[in-house]
């Protein structure tokens, strides 16, 4: 199954650096491929190095593309992570 979604990052920390590692951890739990697109750039959502290069800040728009057998669950969890605005989670 292939799911695409445009998501505005409302997580106050954006998706650079530390939150990126949490994102990658979630992405790697699933079998589905995860691709993150910001403007012209497109990177694997399972690669910490690529995602950090993307340096997506709070308020920027990302397109997330999830493709695979568990795409639905994966998208749900990733979206929740990007849009949550509460307390900083434990990212260890």
């Amino acid at each position: 199954m292939l799911i695409k979604k445009n998501i505005k990052i409302t997580n106050p920390q954006g998706l650079h650096a530390r939150p990126a590692s949490a994102f990658v951890k979630i992405a790697n739990k699933y079998e589905s491929e995860v691709v993150v697109r910001k403007g012209q750039e497109m990177v694997s959502g399972k690669s910490i190095m690529s995602l950090m290069t993307l340096a997506a800040n709070h308020g920027s728009f990302l397109e997330i593309e999830v493709n695979g057998p568990d795409a639905e669950e994966a998208m749900k969890e990733l979206e929740a992570f990007l849009t949550h605005d509460g307390e900083e989670g434990d990212l260890r």
């Binding site: 650096a17 399972k46 690529s50 340096a55 260890r92």
Partner: protein
């Protein structure tokens, strides 16, 4: 024979073989491979990745076990970089296409990422570069079959010579076989110096070109009291220093006698002689050296080398461990002193032109009250278990003290509401380390129970000398008349306002200056655990009246050099100078 001059960082003399650690750059020769060797090259890469993975996991577990979970966490971030599929696939693709050795391609790929991270205007990302380089170095070391011996499994006793030593280097190294440190950069208050002192390993820092001049296996004499290294010494030097070494160890054994004696002058003036620590595990050393308490517990170390913020519970446990180990002796916890030279790995601190004058310490804490109150609650909770005192760093005026005390009162109320115990009489202090605080300490005195003079920063701010810049290290003068006048003013004012005054910078561990501090009327001295016996011996060898005369006289000179000359003469005349100092 060759003499290298550096900065004395941790006292003692060691003679031994050098182990020179690589400089920081990843530079690998470009080497082409045959089409037929490509599968072999890929296997080599995979093996190296597997070995690196095992190595990092091993370090993580060792650190978590020995120093604490929070220090091990940084290595989980390293694992994530190592296991990055995009990187691994890119390296494999390029090996097949370009036909260069795995180490060459791997270092090229890493360099590409590092360069792109350095371009992004994000301090946190730029700091991650050192993690990535660290992982990269490990992989490459496995690929090239290693020249850099790991500090963990040393077979013989060595003196480590490096450009700089990171907290993770010092944390994993084999403490039995590392007998000395020598580094190219750093000052008396750099991480390497502080760590060497707490591990009781002689060290010289700020040698500038030690890693270029010294080769692994060279015989060297390191004199951590004088700040010198003798490379390839002749027979005469060797025998001279062996004697020095014996004298120094006899001297130290002699000092052990002082362990259980009070720190008191001949005419009965009692001082509290305490020790500075960074990690809870150092309390053993504090007690074995006979300190009266802990005068500076640098709590920010709880925040370093980890991914998340330490929770209230984590902090409470750490403070409680220290308080219980020391009880009934007092412990002063300094609230977070972050920023400046301290590496803070997870808060996204903006890049600053002048970090020492920037958003750090109490300024940062007051701006992020939620983070600060977690610490205040943890400290209050720990105060129920012994004698805890709290102090605020980098106070520049009374407003900051009032604001911090208000947050402290809120924290107390939060605990009361939950019926959690704390010591309602816990003493609160202000660190006096900014000239504006020194000049207004009469005003500050009404808001706190004690002052602790932080000389490292006080000297740096009063003399406008960046204390980690080796080029101007000669201007960093603890005996400068301006510094002595500030000390006198702070102590006199504190006493006239009926509060006690301590001192906790490196200056408090300099035996030459002890008579001046005592004579100025200091109530508490806090220094590295290793320096405690020597300082105690000096205090016990003089009368307060003698010390007062020395202090009075020291204040009459025009330059720091004159003060030092005067004090050395005084020592030669009667007060005995430590055998380790020349």
């Amino acid at each position: 024979m060759k003499l290298l001059n550096g900065i004395a960082a941790s006292p003692g003399i060691v003679i031994g073989k050098a182990l020179v650690l690589d400089s920081e750059d990843i530079s690998i020769q470009q080497k082409t491979i045959k089409e037929s060797s490509i599968p072999k090259e890929i296997t080599r890469l995979q093996d190296a990745l597997t070995m690196t993975r095992a190595e990092i996991m091993g370090i993580r577990d060792k650190i978590s076990h020995e120093i604490g979970q929070e220090h091990g966490d940084i290595f989980n971030a390293h694992l994530m970089v190592l296991e990055d599929r995009v990187i691994i696939e890119e390296v494999m693709e390029r090996i097949k296409k370009e036909k260069f050795s795995a180490e060459y391609i791997f270092s090229q790929v890493l360099k590409k990422y590092i360069q792109s991270f350095l371009k992004i205007d994000d301090e946190y990302l730029r700091e991650r570069v050192s993690d990535i380089s660290d992982v990269g170095r490990r992989v490459i070391r496995h690929l090239v079959g290693d020249q850099r011996s790991s500090l963990t499994d040393l077979k013989e006793k060595v003196i480590v010579v490096a450009y700089d030593l990171s907290p993770s280097d010092t944390a994993v190294m084999n403490r039995k076989n590392v007998i000395g440190f020598a580094t190219d950069i750093g000052g008396r208050t750099s991480h390497t110096a502080i760590m060497a002192k707490s591990l009781e390993i002689p060290a010289v820092v700020g040698l500038e070109k030690a890693t270029h001049t010294i080769k692994t296996g060279d015989l060297i004499i390191l004199d951590g009291s004088a700040g010198t290294i003798i490379l390839n010494p002749g027979a005469a030097e060797l025998s001279k220093y062996r004697q020095e070494q014996l004298r120094y160890s006899d001297f130290n054994k002699g000092l052990k006698r002082f362990k259980d004696l009070p720190c008191i002058t001949k005419d009965g003036r009692r001082l509290e002689l305490a020790a500075n620590i960074e990690l809870p595990s150092e309390t053993d050393s504090v007690l074995s050296h006979g300190a009266d308490g802990i005068g500076l517990y640098r709590s920010e170390f709880l925040y370093m080398n980890r991914v998340g913020l330490p929770s209230e519970e984590d902090q409470y446990q750490a403070y409680k461990t220290v308080v219980l180990a020391m009880a009934p002796k007092p412990v002063i916890v300094r609230t977070f002193d972050l920023g400046g030279d301290k590496f803070l790995s997870h808060l996204e601190m903006p890049h600053e032109m002048n970090p020492f004058l920037g958003w750090r310490a109490i300024r940062f804490c007051l701006a992020t009250p939620d983070i600060f109150k977690v610490q205040l609650r943890a400290i209050l909770r720990a105060s129920a278990h012994g004698k805890l005192r709290l102090m605020y760093p980098m106070i520049s005026g009374v407003g900051e003290v009032r604001q911090a005390n208000k947050l402290l009162e809120e924290a107390r109320n939060e605990l009361r509401a939950k019926r959690i115990h704390f010591d309602p009489k816990m003493e609160i202090g202000a660190m006096i380390e900014i000239p504006s605080a020194a000049l207004t300490c009469d005003i500050l005195a009404s808001e706190v129970d004690f002052f602790s003079i932080g000389t490292n920063d006080l000297i740096q701010y009063a003399l406008a000398v960046d204390r980690i810049n080796e080029k101007i290290a000669y201007l960093y003068e603890p005996a400068h008349p301006a510094v002595l006048r500030l000390l006198k003013m702070i102590i006199d004012t504190g006493h006239s306002k009926k509060i006690w005054v301590g001192i906790c910078g490196e200056m408090s561990g300099d035996p030459l200056l002890t008579p001046v501090l005592v004579g100025l009327g200091i109530d508490e001295i806090s220094t590295s655990p290793v320096m405690v016996p020597e300082i105690k011996k000096i205090v016990r060898s003089m009368t307060f009246t003698e010390a007062e005369d020395i202090a009075k006289h020291a204040l009459t000179f025009n330059t720091g050099d004159e003060v030092i000359h005067f004090l050395k003469t005084k020592y030669q005349q009667g007060l005995r100078l430590s055998a380790g100092k020349k």
